[in-house]
């Protein structure tokens, strides 16, 4: 029997070594390159892996973060989220529905083919084409057609006046027409080439994506030679990897770990105000207590948002008075948040006809946003103090989204909303316009303002409409307004790199010390 046992063990060991060989070897060659060109290696850890290397075929931030280093967009956003030239030198509205885009010359894809208007048209048409089944199609739905004027000039025609087109274009990465046509979608999704600062080297699924500096980049070669993106789902593990030096940048650091990383000898923290606003929505269009504006206002008075930001987020959030942040077009600084006033809350409840309090339900995701479940629990605890009894359900994200969109929610729901166009339309329309995907609120006056603002390119008119809209939303307490999130990243002290408000992990500017 002993022999059999030993045999089994040997078998297992051989098996192990065999599979072990198939694995990716450690990738730890730091430095070594001559001082002149790009040198060194940086490892970035996000929570999930890329799903594809084809920019047209996904709508996810982590995947986009990797692709942003391989591809460029026509229009860039700078650190302050202002638009600036990228592959496009300039863009302007010719009239209500026509835009002219002029391309930068001398830009080359990684295989040496020059970038021309044909690539831009190909990229946009590909996303819009229904047969491509691109999940991004909705971003460019407004586009009617894209026409090539010459090699470096295009006109984009929209179906209706569409003021936020430049913001939309800033999100689309330009792919090489000839290469994609030659190798086909499936191959392109595995072996992409772009115009970006980094070239794609290899992708071991769920393990790592390896990129290497593009020395011919049109902005000049990046300083770091190799960039590796690794998916590490568990937060504690990401932090451990940063602490041990295996990783240089990590995303989604919980507020309570900030002190640890800041006091570490090799680690630090970088934060940026996110475009994401966290709120608790009310199902206001199905009758019941929440259909009553007084109850909604009472809830806003009953919750001590400042204390939540201070104690749970440890300051990593900014109080908001409306769905918009300072960075959004349409933001109105005159609209002020509700004060914390439990007495007033009780009074309002009494006026609304609920002197003995109300019973409600609340749904929340867990781990989707910074401390989301904890915030939901804290809100429930504070509402209990004024006699509002809330039953909290934590739902898995897929189930949650399904419930929201099937309009199955009742009561309150915690949600976060990032808006990459930084325009009020991208937040207010889907979330508060009657009948939209995420809207549980109905207000004809608001609908009129939102419809009007999205169909004119007159900036003054739009701004006035949005200011008016935001006032209504605040006064009618369409939501329990919470905060704008501050994204927290962990970074190694050996790298110079700062977080951005759009969650982008752009390694071109990064330097090793």
């Amino acid at each position: 029997m002993k022999k059999v046992l030993i045999g089994v063990l040997i078998l297992l060991m051989t098996g192990l070594t065999l599979v072990g060989c198939g694995g990716s070897g450690g990738s730890k060659d730091t430095g070594g390159a001559p001082k002149t060109g790009p040198a060194g290696q940086v490892v970035v850890a996000q929570g999930v892996d890329a799903t594809t290397m084809d920019p047209a075929m996904h709508a996810e931030t982590p995947t986009g973060n990797i692709q942003r280093n391989i591809f460029d967009s026509l229009i860039f956003r700078n650190k302050d989220m202002k638009l600036e030239p990228g592959l496009a030198l300039s863009w302007k509205a010719l009239d209500d529905r026509h835009w002219e885009i002029v391309l930068r010359q001398g830009v080359k894809f990684h295989d040496g083919t020059p970038l021309t208007a044909k690539d831009v048209k190909f990229t946009l048409d590909r996303i819009i084409n229904p047969d491509q089944k691109s999940p991004r199609r909705s971003n460019l739905e407004a586009i009617d057609k894209v026409e090539i004027v010459d090699d470096y000039k295009l006109t984009v025609t929209t179906k209706a006046p569409y003021p936020i087109l430049p913001g939309r274009l800033a999100d689309e990465l330009i792919v090489p027409a000839d290469y994609v046509k030659k190798v086909g979608d499936a191959e392109f999704a595995k072996n992409p080439i772009g115009t970006g600062p980094y070239k794609f080297i290899k992708w071991v699924k769920d393990d790592q994506v390896v990129l290497e500096a593009n020395t011919n980049y049109w902005k000049g070669a990046p300083t770091i030679k190799t960039v590796i993106f690794r998916p590490i789902p568990e937060t504690s593990t990401r932090i451990a990897e940063l602490q041990t030096g295996a990783v240089d940048i990590i995303v989604n650091v919980p507020p309570d770990q900030v002190k640890t990383l800041e006091s570490g000898t090799n680690t630090r923290v970088s934060t940026a105000p996110s475009s994401r606003v966290i709120f608790i929505g009310f199902v206001a269009n199905k009758g019941g207590p929440l259909a009553n504006a007084k109850v909604r206002q009472a809830i806003n008075y009953a919750v001590d948002v400042d204390s939540i930001i201070k104690n749970i987020l440890l300051g990593n959030g900014y109080r908001v008075a409306s769905p918009l942040t300072k960075a959004h077009f349409g933001y109105d600084p005159d609209v002020k948040p509700y004060t914390f006033d439990p007495g007033k809350a009780k009074e309002l409840l009494k006026e609304a006809g609920y002197p003995n309090g109300v019973e409600l339900t609340m749904d929340s995701p867990n781990g989707r946003y910074l401390m989301d479940k904890e915030i939901a629990e804290a809100v429930v605890g504070q509402l209990a103090q004024v006699g509002i009894k809330v039953k909290l359900n934590v739902l898995e994200w897929g189930v949650y989204v399904k419930k929201i969109m099937a309009k199955e929610l009742t009561g309150m729901y915690l949600l976060g909303w990032g808006n990459s166009t930084f325009d009020a339309d991208g937040t207010l329309y889907p979330l508060l316009r009657t009948g939209q995907r995420f809207s549980y609120y109905e207000n004809p006056k608001l609908d009129k303002l939102l419809d009007e603002a999205r169909s004119t390119i007159d900036e003054q008119k739009r701004l006035a409409d949005y200011h008016e809209a935001v006032k209504i939303i605040n006064q009618d307490a369409a939501w329990l307004f919470l905060h704008q999130q501050r994204d927290i990243y962990g970074a190694s002290k050996r790298i110079e790199w700062e977080a951005r408000p759009d969650e982008l992990l752009w390694l071109y500017d990064a330097k090793l010390k």
Binding site: S236, I239, I312, E377, A378, V380, K391, N393, V394, E396
Partner: protein, 307 residues
């Protein structure tokens, strides 16, 4: 998948004949218990947990759901920065950990006991049918068991949550469904061996109905196996509840459970060790105790194991 043994239908835990005489059983149990100090400890711990659960409202120093955000993540009383009022410290929302552990014992016990009951009832019923009737009934039930074993647990949990909604009751359903196979197989195997034994044959000969035979003659004889599996499974179920929470499919966060607390604490393990350590210890001790008692029961009830 079925094993050869399933097909052959050997008795599995040795209780092949009619139930042993009770006096002997008690004596053997006591003898084992005196020799097996660990089992004694297990019994004491379990008794303690049950008492805690029953007397939670008297024992807990504070309301388990009372939050004080300003006092969040306080260390235990004896550590620097600790407060005497929160002897085991506070959690991420400033709730008293000791009180939550005390109240949490209720849910954890409830989950442990009810899931095992659901799984046991389902498994026994299907196992009895399968073993007694054999043929296609047996085939269908055993294939069902095989399918269940190859089915991803997470998906089952998600499906129940999507269709029935989240919550304690549905968690119990999920865990109950996943646990039946073990009972089903054991009961079936035992029934197969009992079916041809004299006392069952005799009952059949005098015309007892199937239900009577199963209930009066077969069930008592498989009871010991069931008890043993149940005690051993209970610990696993309590842990599974915690795993479900980890996967984002747990019980309402406002209900204190050890699994939930442990999971909440996993982001604080490097700095605020107390958030996860104390509920973890409570869980560990309880599972340990139920396993120890399970082992002892097995040694006692299974005569083939006596020295």
């Amino acid at each position: 998948m079925e094993t050869m043994k399933d097909l052959v239908g050997e008795p599995t835990l040795g209780m092949a004949g009619p139930v042993s005489e009770p006096g002997a059983l008690w004596r053997r149990g006591w003898r084992n218990l005196r020799r097996n100090k660990a089992a004694l400890l297990g019994l004491v711990i379990l008794a303690g947990v049950v008492l805690t659960a029953l007397l939670a409202s008297h024992l807990a120093p504070a309301d388990p759901n009372h939050q004080e955000l300003a006092l969040r993540l306080l260390p235990p009383a004896w550590a620097t920065g600790g407060k005497a009022t929160h002897s085991l410290g506070t959690d991420q929302l400033g709730r008293d950990i000791l009180s939550r552990i005390i109240y949490g014992s209720r849910i954890s016990l409830l989950v442990g006991v009810t899931t095992v009951a659901v799984a046991g009832a389902l498994g026994t019923f299907l196992g009895l049918l399968s073993g007694y009737y054999g043929g296609w009934v047996d085939d269908v039930i055993m294939r069902l068991a095989d399918i269940q074993l190859a089915f991803p647990f997470v998906l089952l949990a998600l499906a129940v949550m999507a269709v029935l909604g989240p919550g304690l009751k549905n968690i119990i359903i999920v865990l109950g469904i996943t646990g039946w196979v073990e009972y089903g197989r054991v009961v079936r195997a035992e029934v197969l061996s009992l079916r041809s034994r004299d006392f069952v044959e005799a009952a059949r000969a005098i015309g007892d109905r199937d239900a009577v035979i199963l209930g009066r003659h077969v069930l008592p004889n498989v009871a010991t196996s069931l008890i043993v599996i149940a005690t051993l499974q209970m610990g696993r179920m309590i842990i599974s509840e915690s795993a479900l929470t980890f996967l984002g499919l747990g019980i309402e966060p406002t209900i204190p459970t050890w699994g939930g607390m442990l999971n909440d604490g996993r982001n604080y393990m490097n700095n605020q060790w107390w958030v996860s350590t104390f509920p973890g210890l409570a869980l560990l001790l309880t599972v340990l105790a139920s396993n120890l008692v399970g082992d002892w029961l097995r040694d006692t009830l299974d005569p083939t194991l006596k020295e």
